[in-house]
């Protein structure tokens, strides 16, 4: 049973001049993530309900809206909530909650994360994607939360143990928490489009590794690049995606077909020493 990447998608019909106030509640909870080999590892996530989800919530808001964001820490450790350029909550003690009001005055993609114990709480799952959309932007968007897992690290880090970043050697590679072939069953990730119709993909690297995302079938246009803003406008088939950075890529397909996308560090196409249960999915383009 594939995991469905839970979304917290709020779409309003209001214009910038008619701001809507939205109440959003995220609950920090620990739980288990199922890996491609059927094993599980400890993770902690921001959930948009009181139930544990294997992935932190995707937050899609509209430019001009006002968000009353409440973070509830239901873990036994202190955590935080930070989105550079948007908001920072400071420490949220275990068992406590904090509310902040955020005015959505800038469109764009923001990576949110727990800024306590960096980068490990973020690695454990306390990180995700915020997309503030301009209401005039009607392009279909798809969202890829890219991360890798070194399975023997999670129990250590969850138990407040220490690991050495210079030993990092992940063995599982996921998009929205899913592995191939299940990534293709996630409607948030799986691009289904038509020839001549533009779509955009938001890629956020919430892992610790660099990824080199290769697209079959098409060159895509870089519409946003948090690491190298000067690279916007480049048309490429392979895009570097650095840890804790994001890209927005645009594509208007010129032909139909089903075309893979994968990390060209081909080790990342594997999962638990098995090919091809890693970071691999397809674009499905109809005529």
């Amino acid at each position: 049973m594939p995991k469905l990447y839970l979304t917290f998608l709020i779409v309003t019909a209001c214009s910038f001049l008619h701001a809507t106030t939205i109440d959003v509640r995220l609950v920090i909870k620990p739980g288990l993530l199922t890996l491609s080999n059927g094993g599980t590892v400890e993770v902690i996530t921001y959930n948009n309900t009181d139930s544990f989800s294997e992935n932190s919530a995707l937050l899609v808001w509209e430019l001009g809206d006002v968000v009353n964001l409440k973070i509830v820490n239901n873990d036994t450790q202190n955590h935080g909530f930070n989105a550079d350029g948007l908001t920072s909550f400071g420490i949220i003690p275990a068992g406590d909650s904090v509310i902040q009001t955020i005015n959505l005055s800038n469109a764009g993609v923001f990576r949110y994360n727990d800024n306590v114990n960096p980068p490990f709480n973020s690695y454990l799952g306390l990180s995700g994607i915020i997309h503030i959309k301009d209401p005039s932007d009607t392009t279909p968007y798809f969202y890829w939360d890219i991360r890798e897992i070194q399975s023997n690290w999670n129990p250590i880090l969850y138990g407040s143990g220490i690991v050495n970043l210079t030993d990092y050697d992940p063995d599982f590679f996921t998009i929205n928490g899913n592995h191939n072939p299940n990534i293709n069953l996630d409607p948030i990730a799986k691009v289904i489009g038509n020839v001549g119709v533009e779509f955009k993909i938001v890629l956020v690297n919430n892992g610790l590794s660099i990824h080199s995302m290769h697209f079959h079938g098409y060159h895509l246009l870089s519409a946003a690049d948090s690491k190298h803003p000067a690279f916007v406008g480049r048309e490429k088939d392979t895009f570097p995606l650095y840890p804790h950075e994001h890209l927005i890529l645009s594509c208007t397909p010129d032909k139909p077909g089903e075309y893979p996308v994968h990390d060209h560090n081909l080790v990342a196409v594997t999962g638990g020493q098995e090919y091809a249960t890693g970071m691999f999915l397809t674009l499905l383009i109809a005529p």
Binding site: K236, D237, T238, N265, V269
Partner: protein, 394 residues
Amino acid sequence: MIKLTLSVLLVLISLDCLTQIDYSKLIIGRNTGTKTLHDGNVTKIFGFTETLNEVTDTPGPTIRVTEGDTIQIEFWNVSQGAPHTIHLHGLDVNQENDGVPHLSFVVNHMDHGYYKFKAPHPGTYIYHCHVVSTIHVQAGMYGVIIVEPSNGQNNTTWVGGESFDRDILLTASEIDTNWHTDAVLDHEHDPVNPIPVFVPENYTPQYFLVNGLSETQLADPLNHSTVGVNEDVFMRLVNIGYYGVRYIFPNSVNARTISSDGRPLPQAYINDTIEVLPGERYGTLIQTGTADFYDVEIEYFNMNTQLIESSQAVTLRTSLASINNLELNLTVYPNPSEDGVFYTEKAFTENYTIYAIDGGLVLKSSEQRIDLSKHKPGIYTMHYQGSVIKLCAQ
């Protein structure tokens, strides 16, 4: 009636254009190759060749085609094991010709497969097998396709682009010999249904390659690339390995990067260091002067830790720097040197020169004791009568 006949004729001409092959190339897939590494070790490889008699090596043959032409690659799989394919990386071919087994087709042992595509954009591309690609690419089944502009001037980057005197291809990759064992390479396969294939637990390459060579192989003058004095050289920088690489040029050559992945960059950028991640390609123009040698350093960094794990040096030799004597027996020890001091038993009849990796002259001497202890640790190159030795000061 005349209009109808004309229309039918135009349609027929159009269909004929689509089926017309402007350039056809035979590529053979082999799984019985061996590769001698710089330390003398020999490892088993897969690869591509142009003829059956050819020694299988990696990278495979470089294929040069012309922009706008309709290309056919006839792929003949002459191997006893798993099927293979050719994926035309970056050429944006249609699904049928994309070379991904479950979305296109595979070519079984002794079968032929035909890949057809148009080459609409001049630039540098890769071809590689996409069957259990993590294993087959590491095994060596990759090469480069260069699309040259349609204006008949091969020494321009694209129609209306920049001209150059010559182009040089540098393809980075690695070899982890633990991935080249029979147990890994002779993996299970099903000609109809994809099945899971197990890969080794870690990828920890021992050999870091440029154009299939490393260390002393690259230092061998026979493997140097030739450039001219005061030339514009178009460097085609490719990475088909699983590590990130940085190509680092000497300051003096004014490296200017103008294209990537077969497309011009919106803005060229001037930087001595060009980072190329797995699957990427960059086009960088450099200008040679009158120096005998230009050394390009290539750093290999782990994509997970971002630590640099190897550094290789490629020498561009100007045509003025003739190879006087390839049997100089120029041996330097210890190398690497922990204190930056090296010795040689050779008595020099003229000065040798030592350059830092950025091209700066560090030492000019004829002493048999080579003291680099006052310079920062790193890679240096020693040049003497046409021979080049890489020195590693730790």
